[in-house]
């Protein structure tokens, strides 16, 4: 697609982990029997009225502050009108032209480069109920035999975050989203569980001739329920748009549905999308006045955010920028790493082991940081065993693997499998002598002055000791044997 550059904007919805719903006191839960957590308000019985959940506002303000937004001292709720069975009032209480917070930004990293995306707005609304369509083969309401509604989710506090179209590539969009999700988790306002749809997103994309500033006509992309699908959908949409433009056509402002099976984007039927939401101010709620002093109180109790933590990891633990970024970006991995250090492991070796063996284990097992089969305490013990020479670095990796296999303490693994480092000169002298005797040609080369051949002998000793020999000692003993 040379000559063209994409411009991406994202619109994200995050369900908040408040105890109760946005406008009533029903519990917010997951996995309970359908329609257990309902009341006249969230079932929209006649005469019922909404009351704003104060905690939801606090959580929303936390997100807004973390995204460097201006929290507006006065904001109002609107009714967004449309008929659908998952929307019992037939309007969603949302925000429109006077949202909670505006004009922020979010810094994120792509390949070690910091990018800034402006945030247009953060607003509050309520989630819809869950529809289950039975019969038919589309999984959608059209064509199903009947549909059921579970109102447990209906009315869950929802935050909408809208970015400006500042994201320069599909990969950057994925990074943006992952890092923004990490940020929200960090704030403790949502677990952002992807399977349960606690975080959902749509994207809009346009292309323009490289180096130009004017935005092209965008399309909106839906149905990308994993980070990978987001990237794939955007990657599929770019050539589609470029193809149209290069053929002299124009892009229609439309909504496209991403099909993960085919990897293509197709337009939704325009009828389904032809909504006039008839927004108007929600008369059942008074304007929400947000006390700036209260906001400052929330700002003062914000948890450490990834960007600040990455900087701290660099300065406090002497980590490189790249290492600090890997370890500091996600809450869970950062917490694990700091626990390893707190358990007495050196900061740098702890970082190497966490980023190396531990991350590889998580990836292989498909686990979240902190949920792996090695505790921080055990990893710290292993790091210390390597540091004090009890285990060599290379054996350490075997110890790590056995610790997982056997769910065992590192000391027990070392003892049981004899993986301790051999630092006893007497025990190594015989091996050294054997290796020298078995390789007379190389010994001759060494004696003729080719000192680098020493490495070959070290390797041979390591090989015959299963990597357990103390490398320094082996060097000394080899030099003695060869020089002598």
């Amino acid at each position: 697609m040379s000559g063209w550059e994409p411009v991406v904007g994202l619109e994200m919805h995050v369900e908040l982990d408040t105890q109760t719903k946005m406008f009533c006191s029903c519990a917010v839960t997951k996995g309970d029997e359908p329609n257990m957590h309902t009341c006249p308000v969230c079932l929209a019985h006649p005469g019922a009225l909404p009351v704003v959940n104060q905690r939801a506002i606090e959580y929303a303000v936390r997100i807004a502050l973390a995204l460097n937004c201006t929290v507006q001292p006065r904001n109002i709720f609107h009714r967004k009108n449309y008929f659908y069975p998952d929307l019992p009032k037939a309007y969603q209480i949302s925000q429109y032209d006077e949202p909670l917070a505006v004009s922020g930004w979010f810094d994120y990293w792509v390949d070690g480069e910091k990018l800034r995306c402006r945030i247009n707005r953060v607003h509050m609304e309520e989630d819809a109920a869950k529809l289950i369509h039975a019969g038919g083969d589309t999984g959608r309401i059209a064509g199903s035999d009947y549909s059921m509604v579970d109102f447990n989710r209906g009315g869950t506090p929802l935050i909408e975050i809208v970015s400006e179209p500042d994201i320069p590539s599909p990969e950057a969009a994925r990074e943006f989203l992952q890092q923004l999700r990490n940020l929200v988790i960090e704030l403790g306002v949502s677990e952002c569980n992807m399977e349960e749809g606690q975080i959902r997103w749509d994207a809009n994309l346009s292309v323009r001739p490289e180096g130009t500033a004017e935005l092209g006509t965008r399309t909106e992309l839906k149905n990308m329920n994993s980070f990978r699908f987001l990237q794939q959908a955007l990657e599929a949409e770019i050539p589609r748009q470029v193809g149209i433009l290069e053929a002299g056509g124009t892009i229609d402002l439309e909504t496209l549905h991403f099909d993960p099976d085919t990897g293509t984007t197709t337009p939704l039927r325009s009828k389904e999308e032809a909504h006039d939401y008839r927004y108007f101010p929600e008369p059942d709620l008074v304007p929400l006045l947000i006390d700036p002093v209260w906001v400052e109180g929330i700002r003062a109790t914000q948890p450490e955010l990834p960007e600040a933590r990455v900087a701290r990891f660099s300065s406090q633990y002497g980590l490189s920028r790249a290492d600090a970024l890997v370890l500091g970006s996600s809450h869970a991995l950062a917490a694990f790493y700091e626990e390893v250090v707190e358990c007495g492991a050196g900061a740098k070796p702890a970082a190497n082991w966490t980023m190396g063996e531990y991350l590889a284990h998580l990836n292989a097992a498909g686990l979240e940081a902190g949920r792996g089969h090695v505790t921080a305490e055990r990893l710290a013990k292993l790091v210390k065993l390597v540091a004090d020479g009890t285990v060599s670095t290379s054996s350490g990796k075997d110890v790590f693997a056995k610790m997982i296999e056997e769910r065992a303490e590192p000391e027990d693994v070392v003892n049981k499998h004899g993986l301790g480092q051999i630092s006893d000169a007497a025990a190594l002298e015989a091996t050294v002598a054997e290796v020298v005797a078995a390789n007379p040609a190389q010994a001759e080369q060494y004696r003729e002055g080719k000192l680098q051949v020493l490495g070959f002998f070290v390797g041979q000793v390591m090989k015959s000791t299963g990597g357990r020999a103390n490398p320094g000692l082996v060097n000394d003993l080899l030099r003695k044997a060869l020089d002598g």
């Binding site: 009225l49 008929f83 019992p88 059209a142 008839r278 008369p283 059942d284 709620l285």
Partner: protein
């Protein structure tokens, strides 16, 4: 037991009789249930009479609540059928809620229930409170006890007619553009719309959320204050409710010395019947005899209030009534072929023509491209109307006007022309737009039909209004004497049992 005239008995007197042990709650309930039996076939004020419950509950009040009885214990009440009552069907006079059994009780109703009032039943109204004659009910047309050929007004026509006919001691109504005051005026009873927010709207089936307000319909201003005392209060379930700055006090004023009353020339300018005007002028003269000082004032944006109201109220209604979709409760059409068919037929069958008209007006007014021209502009007019009142109240304590331009009109005479119906509320609508309190009291008859006198006050001036209305009421000496006659020429109405027999 003393002989009681249900048409004249006030709650104040009934309470004294109960407290003094001269009558039991069960006997009092029976007085009203008997009157319902006698006249309801002609008046048709109730959608549902809860006679068995009223008999049982009043007996329970007599038996169990001697020591702990609430301040309203044993006083029979009728509730407009747009307030939800747990376990008692609530229809809003609409087919779409014909089978609706509420799962909770409106805050205002719960408050009087907790004071041990005895509920007699649910009263008729214009469907979803949209109308000024109660002819828009899906179930029945209520008639005015003063002349059965005429309407009782609306939308709280059932409550007003029931109070006037002696079918209840008092009643609850709701007022969005005059729906308490206009029927109170037409039926010759007292009706008050409190300051917006003074009474919780939780459980009041919403018509226009920013305008709706529950209030009392009674036979005296004192009773109005007594009932209002038990309705007001900030409700954590209604974000728009507020606590009154001072409690509602029972009025005792006999003089109005120094009270400054403004008479808006715009309200007298157009369409006030001569008979109504005559009673109004007489009442103003009485007000001055009591020491009040009346001056003409101007509320310059009055002419825009009605059109603004008929944008704002339908706009809010179009969203408020969207929940009646056949999914969770209420009417659902038979055998829908798909979702859209279910929505269309359920709502097509469930709503009457006036409700549909307003939903369509409101939907249109909120549509993309029209919002600023209609809803946005109507809201700006609303601000101007509110400002008119603020400026007026800088110079006067209260504002007086006729409640309605005419006395009760013949049933069927305005149903073909919605605009002629809408102008019934020309003197009451601006008050709702401004969120102010106002009362209507009867001030005499014109052609044998009651005329209403409206007093409007600044926000939270309920006590001032009640004191003035109480003093005026004493000076006017209105006699509640509904004749239950039928002047004919309207639609046919059944002659009730002789009104002479109804007093037990």
């Amino acid at each position: 037991m003393p002989t009681l005239d249900p048409v004249r008995l006030t709650a104040r007197e009934a309470k004294r009789l109960l407290v003094d042990g001269e009558i039991s709650a069960a006997e009092l309930a029976k007085v009203y249930l008997d009157q319902i039996s006698a006249v309801e076939a002609a008046v048709r004020a109730f959608i549902l009479v809860t006679a068995d419950n009223a008999a049982k509950y009043s007996t329970k009040v007599d038996r169990e609540m001697q020591a702990t009885r609430g301040p309203l214990a044993g006083l029979p009440i009728a509730i407009k059928d747009n307030m939800v009552t747990e376990g008692v069907t609530t229809t809003c006079a609409s087919r779409i809620l014909s089978n609706y059994m509420p799962v909770y009780t409106a805050t205002a109703v719960r408050q009087v229930w907790e004071d041990h009032v005895v509920m007699l039943g649910k009263t008729n109204l214009d469907e979803f409170a949209m109308g000024s004659s109660t002819e828009n009910s899906a179930y029945q047309t209520t008639r005015n006890p003063w002349d059965l050929a005429t309407v009782p007004g609306g939308s709280s026509g059932g409550s007003a007619a029931a109070v006037a006919a002696g079918e209840t001691l008092w009643a609850l109504g709701s007022d969005t553009g005059g729906s308490i005051r206009q029927p109170a005026a037409l039926c010759g009873v007292v009706g008050m719309k409190p300051t917006y927010g003074a009474v919780s709207r939780y459980g009041l089936i919403a018509f226009a959320s920013s305008l709706d307000q529950i209030g009392p319909l009674t036979r005296s201003v004192y009773d109005c204050a007594l009932l209002l005392q038990h309705l007001v209060g900030q409700d954590p379930k209604d974000s728009t409710s507020v606590a009154l700055p001072e409690p509602v006090t029972l009025p005792d004023a006999e003089r109005l010395d120094g009270l400054r009353v403004g008479i808006p020339s715009e309200y007298l300018a157009a369409g006030i019947e001569p008979g109504v005007r005559a009673r109004f002028d007489e009442t103003i003269a009485r007000l001055e005899e009591l020491g009040g000082r009346c001056t003409e004032i101007s509320l310059p944006h009055t002419e825009y209030a009605l059109p603004a109201y008929y944008i704002i109220a339908p706009a809010e209604a179009s969203a408020n009534l969207a929940r009646f979709d056949g999914v969770r409760y209420g009417h659902r059409c038979a055998e829908p072929v798909d979702l859209l068919d279910m929505y269309e037929r359920t709502r097509g069958e469930g709503f009457g023509p006036e409700v549909k008209r307003r939903i369509m007006i409101g939907t249109y007014a909120l549509s993309a491209g029209y919002y600023d021209a209609y809803y946005g502009r109507a809201q700006r007019v609303r601000t101007l109307v509110r400002r008119d009142f603020e400026q007026a109240f800088a110079g006067v304590d209260l504002i007086a006007s006729p409640t309605t331009p005419t006395v009760a009109f013949k049933a069927g005479s305005r149903t073909a022309d919605p605009l002629s119906m809408y102008v019934c509320d020309i003197c009451t609508i601006p008050v709702n737009l401004a969120g102010l309190p106002a009362i209507s009291i009867p001030c005499g008859l014109s052609d044998g039909l009651p005329v209403g006198f409206q007093l409007i006050g600044p926000a939270f001036s309920e006590n001032r209004i009640l004191q003035a209305a109480h003093a005026l009421e004493g000076a006017i000496g209105f006699e509640p004497a509904p004749t239950f006659r039928d002047s004919g020429a309207g639609e046919q109405a059944t002659e009730p049992a002789s009104s002479g027999e109804v007093a037990s």
